[in-house]
Amino acid sequence: MDNSTFTLITWIILTILAIIIAIIFNVLKNRSRKDTFLILGLADSGKTSFFIKLRDGKQVQTHTSMKENEGYINLENNGIPLTKVPIHFVDVPGHEKLRFKFSDFIPITRGIIFLVDSSTCVKNVRSIAEYLYDIFSNKDVIKHNIPTLIACNKSDMITALPPERIQTMLENEINKLRNTRTSALDNQDSSITDNIEFLGYENEKFKFEHLENETHFEKCSVDKNEIAEIKNWIAEVYGGR
């Protein structure tokens, strides 16, 4: 009787300990490592396709995401692995109402891949710029200088613009946004300071080079499997840790 009670208690204690350790481990794991790559961009810019392409090398049909896709991916180029360990990727939905989730991942983010649909860029330049503005003015992004790759996807389309054009367009747009954002009305609860920052240098036209964090523009096409540059960039950022 005694013996069995004792065993039971021991078991319970052990179980509780195990659980506590597991939790601590989990928390530590989430907190300490900054090895996640975020795939951001507007809806329909090809984030999920890119994610699947990266993971399986396959082309799949996708719809607007409602939830983020995440996974550990072994990066490889033509069969040659680019990194030793699998990298954690998160594909955050681009819908305006869901994209706020990206800020939850920022603390564990190593790098951001921002996909732009080169073929509809002209039409969407404001939305793209606004999203970028949100990202760049996020206080964690600023604090950790998270490197960002702006990948101009769908470059195979006829109407696609070259990355250089896209870059100038975005710079112009962000330049305008800087003024309007900073002169917006106060927030209702003024005690909370929000993370609207002035990007770049004052009195100077906005340039991506002015940002603290590295930004690159790269051309790519998920459809045509032209994503080698992105892979290399990821490997470089990851390796350069």
Binding site: I52, R55, D56, Q61, S65, K67, Y72, N187, I192
Partner: protein, 1058 residues
């Protein structure tokens, strides 16, 4: 029939899809964007272009199943198909789906075709009796599908499709999950997986019951695991009640199964026929069944469920959710969220949660709360840019003005304490708490105001007590109540000659400045020193300079400046300012649209159209009769020495052609008096005066006829009052002020109130009082009694016939005040917490209280304008509210204020007066703005009720002709359920009445009075949910700077706060 069927993950990856025709556009994307992400998953179907889409979730696997067909078709079996496919697919591919580390190929085409064929065929045969087994049952698996679908068909029809299935399903999933977990590639987190597999060893025995009960179709390892439980359920499968559960729980060999299947087929078909009657029963049965399962589960494996809890393996069922969500719903409604929306939202959250696993150490409450939080965040996060300035910049670059159209319902509530009397349009009075929607009350411009809605609540109340010049009664209202005040002090200069040390003599200029930013009046002063070496050489010059300067001061609050200020702000003003604020009332009230009944009555009696003097004469006689007539007789008693009155009676009766006899009569007090009895004319059987009294319905009561109250002022009301006062009133003079004291005999004290009201409506101050000692003009002291005191500027207008009671017209003091609104001082007293009753009215929102005190609230357009001006934009305000009187003037004041506020900002008002076509004015304003390079055009439209079709049509026309860049709805944060109605109807009107291919809708909202609602921010949610559009700003006060961006986090916090 079916156009396509897609199975995709919530992450957006299509796992399997089948297209039957060429699909144009992408309806699934629209479905996700418009419905699922907007948290409208509580809805049932979605129509996009020519497709109708239906969907179902499998939350435990994060899957969405979408079926689409041509919307013109009525496919009743779609829900059944979705449910069947979901169940089948989930069962068959659970492991593959769970493994999210790579893309799998789902070989589902054949199975899908079979399911579809099967269901379609069944559907085409209708719900007819189907007693034969299907001819095409080829595989065991297929048979199971058929059964599954049959069972589901009943479920589907009798209640919402997914719920019962999921709750059963989810148990099956749980088991399967545990069973298959250990072999799977790492997906979960380390610790959990471990415990999952340890637990597995205990599992089979405990849960095999559940498993059999719930896994219906693809159970491959079934046959050897029949338990008592199953037998039991088989036993009562003849019993109607348990069929839902037992149908799926099944026998071991093929023969048995077939028999049972047939039996059940027949059974269910019968059920189908009578389904309507049994609907409730079915529902109950379902719940019973599931409860059974869960009790068994609990009883059999409490330790297990403990482990499940801590290891995060517990899946959420509908039953778990129901109480929590009910509470949540109640909570939301308490926060002023519209009831419908709260319900929708909870449904949506439930759909997203059922089947999910609760994380470690989490209660279901916190899970729901978390899920609700995410949902709310989704809803409230704007899906389009709310950066107005950027939009304006865009318009600038296209060199066109950016147009914003402000629309909204009328006015905001005005709240008074219980018992406050409000003047109705028909001249009667009603207590504020008795007012109903649709009642007509009197406005300050002699037109009616219709009550649009009423509210009540509790708050700090203030009592507004007038001084003795004002109305007798105080009124109480809440601290938001806006006082309409007349400022009475102008600027003045003062000579300060007495030299103080080190200071030369000076002229000081004092003035009151209206601070437009804070809606406050402040006193300021300026010094003009004179003397040698000073700015001005001489006193006279300094004085002139001061006077010159006086006129130049901006925002001067001079006499007659009308200040609309909430009580709480008023109380922060300096004493001096408060002292100089006066309440006012208009001179008199004229009921243009209802008057004329007296004239008609007289017309009937006299047989001819009465002249004005005849009317006056008749009403004077009525007045005299009321005061000193005899009940039920057309007889007037007049003191014998009142010669003037007798003369006038003679004159008037001749004028009206009424005959009377005069007889002397001794009263009980030995006074002699004349009795004047009107009688029939020779040529007329009727007694004119008697008939008049009858028509006025006062013959037996002798009260002041209510009809009179709203009659023509000069011809009817004043003579009547004069008639009453001629006999029963005294004229008093106190330090140059005249007043009448009306003192009826003791038994007629009811007349005091009536005369008081009459005098009030006729442009006098009047109050009823217990007079102490009153002095008559001839210095006779009269005893104290209940009396009416009438004073005012226009007493000379009363056509009294007794000469010594008449007020001399040329009295200096009266001349000075003639034709001015009446004003009086007052004080405000805090009377603590109390309940208030409010109402909203149309038009200019100024209403009259019983004593005609003017009351009002103002709009919010100018706040936006102020912000735009601060950003250096040139703004044109188009006054398209051509309906509400006073609207244009109000804007004019705002424009003046705004211009004064900004250093170099430009704001102009484009106005074309009242009554014109608003759409036209807006159009002209826009072209004017284009010509004159304005950056922004703000279109102010009339507030209108959502049910007022003509006005809504006008609005739609304004919008479609001018196509503004933004249509902003200005709504009140106080509204609850009504918000939904307002917005839907506005949107509907914009759609229906526009005649455009792509009708416009509301693009954003401004919520006003956000400071007054504490954490009851539900309206914000209701509004965004209804329109799917963002709240651009919230108004947090009365001043121009009180416009803020809404913070989503803040709203969510407030909504979920206990």
């Amino acid at each position: 029939m079916l156009d396509f069927f897609t199975i995709l993950t919530k992450g957006g990856i299509v796992l399997w899809s089948k297209t039957f025709t060429r699909i144009t556009s992408s309806p699934v994307d629209s479905l996700i964007k418009d419905v699922l992400i907007e948290e409208r998953a509580g809805e049932n179907s979605y129509i996009k272009d020519s497709y109708c889409l239906k969907w179902t979730f499998a939350n435990e696997l994060d899957l969405i199943f979408v079926a689409a067909y041509q919307k013109i078709l009525q496919l009743a079996y779609i829900e059944e198909l979705l449910a069947t496919v979901k169940k089948f697919f989930c069962d068959k591919f659970a492991n593959l789906i769970r493994d999210t580390s790579r893309i799998h190929k789902f070989a589902f085409d054949d199975d899908f075709d079979t399911i579809l064929n099967n269901i379609e065929e069944k559907d085409s045969k209708g719900h007819g009796k189907l007693s034969k087994p299907r001819p095409f049952e080829k595989t065991k698996k297929f048979k199971e599908t058929v059964e599954g679908s049959k069972k589901l068909s009943v479920d589907d029809i009798s209640k919402p499709p997914t719920n019962p299935i999921i709750s059963e399903d989810e148990i099956a999933r749980n088991i399967e999950d545990l069973r298959l977990r250990s072999g799977k590639s790492s997906r979960g987190r380390g610790g959990r997986k471990q415990s999952g597999s340890t637990k597995r060893s205990n599992e089979p025995n405990v849960s095999s019951d559940d498993k059999k009960q719930t896994r219906k179709k693809t159970m491959r390892v079934w046959d050897d695991k029949l338990s008592k439980e199953v037998m039991e359920s088989l036993d009562y499968s003849g019993d109607k009640g348990d069929n839902d559960n037992s149908s799926a729980v099944n026998p071991q060999d093929l023969v048995d199964r077939n028999q049972l299947g047939q039996f059940q087929d027949g059974y269910y078909e019968v059920q189908d026929l009578g389904e309507n009657d049994d609907e409730d029963e079915f529902e109950e049965d379902d719940y019973d069944g599931t409860n059974d399962v869960s009790t068994q589960n609990n009883g059999g494996s409490s330790i297990l469920s403990f482990f499940k809890n801590i290891t995060g393996q517990k899946e959420i069922t509908e039953q778990d959710l129901a109480p929590v969500l009910a509470k949540m719903k109640e909570h939301l409604i308490k926060k002023n969220v519209a009831a419908d929306i709260a319900a929708h939202l909870c449904d949506s959250v439930a759909r997203n949660l059922v089947g999910q696993k609760i994380g470690s150490f989490k209660s279901i409450q916190s899970t729901v709360k978390q899920s609700m939080e995410v949902s709310l965040k989704r809803i409230l996060t704007p899906k389009t840019s709310v950066d107005l300035l950027r939009d304006i910049a865009q318009a600038q670059s296209e060199s066109r003005p950016y147009t914003v159209c402000f629309i909204g319902v009328n006015g905001v509530g005005k709240c008074f304490a219980k018992g406050t009397k409000v003047l109705m349009y028909d001249g009667t009075y009603q207590n504020v708490e008795e007012l109903n929607v649709g009642n007509q009350i009197m406005g300050d411009d002699d037109t009616s105001r219709t009550i649009q809605s009423t509210t009540k609540g509790e708050g700090i109340m203030y009592r507004i007590i007038p001084n003795d010049k004002g109305p007798a009664k105080f009124f109480e209202c809440n601290n938001q109540h806006i006082l309409v005040l007349k400022f009475s002090a102008g600027p003045f200069v003062r000579n300060e000659e007495i030299p103080i040390v080190n200071r030369s003599p000076r002229i000081r200029l004092f003035w009151y400045e209206y601070d437009t930013k804070n809606n406050m009046i402040v006193k300021k002063n300026d010094s003009f020193y004179y003397g040698p070496g000073k700015d001005y050489p001489k006193k006279g010059i300094a004085r002139r300079a001061a006077i010159r300067e006086m006129a130049r001061k901006p925002n001067l609050a001079a006499s007659d400046f009308i200040w609309e200020v909430p009580i709480k702000d008023f109380l922060t003003a300096s004493d001096e300012v408060q002292r100089n604020c006066l309440m006012y009332k208009p001179n008199k009230v004229i009921f243009k649209s209802v008057q004329g009944r007296f004239r008609i009555i007289l017309n009937e009696i006299l047989g001819v159209n009465p002249t004005d003097s005849q009317i006056s004469a008749a009403s004077w006689l009525v007045g005299v009769w009321i005061n000193s007539g005899i009940v039920n007789l057309p007889t007037i008693c007049v003191n014998e020495n009142e010669n003037e009155i007798l003369k006038v009676i003679a004159k008037y009766s001749e004028m009206l052609n009424w005959r009377y006899i005069k007889e002397s009569y001794k009263t009980m007090t030995d006074d002699s008096e004349w009795r004047i009895s009107f009688m029939c004319n020779d040529d007329d059987i009727e007694n004119g005066f008697l008939r008049l009294l009858q028509k006025l319905d006062i013959l037996d009561t002798k009260k002041v006829p209510p009809v009179i109250m709203i009659e023509e002022l000069d011809q009817v009301r004043l003579p009547l009052l004069a008639g009453i006062l001629d006999i029963g009133g005294h004229l008093l003079e106190e330090s140059g002020n005249y007043k009448y004291v009306y003192e009826p005999s003791q038994e007629r004290c009811d007349l005091v109130e009536q005369v008081c009201n009459l005098a009030n409506l006729s442009g006098f101050y009047s109050k009823s009082d217990f007079a102490s000692t009153k002095k008559c003009q001839d210095n006779i002291t009269i005893p104290s009694s209940y009396c009416t005191i009438i004073s005012g500027n226009d007493l000379d207008k009363l056509p009294l016939v007794v000469s010594h009671k008449r007020v001399c017209k040329n009295h200096e003091h009266n001349l000075k005040l003639i034709n001015r609104d009446m004003v009086w001082r007052f004080k405000v007293v805090n009377v603590g917490l109390g309940s208030y009753y409010g109402f909203k009215v149309d038009k200019n929102e100024r209403v009259l209280l019983a004593d005609l005190t003017v009351s009002h609230n103002s709009t919010n357009l100018s706040k936006t304008c102020f912000w735009l001006l601060q950003n250096g934009l040139k703004v044109l305000i188009a006054a398209c509210d051509t309906f509400r009187s006073g609207a244009v003037e109000q804007l004019r004041v705002h424009v003046r204020n705004l211009n004064a506020l900004g250093q170099n900002s430009t704001v102009e008002l484009y106005e074309r007066g009242y009554g014109k076509d608003a759409a036209g004015i807006a159009k002209d304003a826009i072209s004017y703005a284009k010509l004159n390079k304005f950056d922004v055009v703000l279109i102010d439209t009339a507030g209108r009720m959502q049910d007022n079709e003509p006005l809504m049509r006008a609005l739609a026309k304004l919008v479609s002709t001018n196509n503004p860049d933004k249509i902003i709805f200005v709504g009140e944060a106080l509204v609850g359920n009504e918000a939904v109605d307002q917005l839907t109807k506005f949107n509907q009107a914009l759609k229906d009445f526009s005649g455009l291919q792509n009708p416009r809708h509301i693009d954003g909202m401004i919520l006003t009075k956000f400071d007054t609602i504490d954490d009851k921010v539900g309206a914000a949610l209701s509004m965004t949910y209804t329109t799917g559009q963002p709240i651009l700003f919230v108004g947090t006060g009365q001043t121009y700077t009180d416009l803020k961006n809404m913070k989503v986090g803040h709203i969510i916090h407030a909504l979920l706060k206990e």
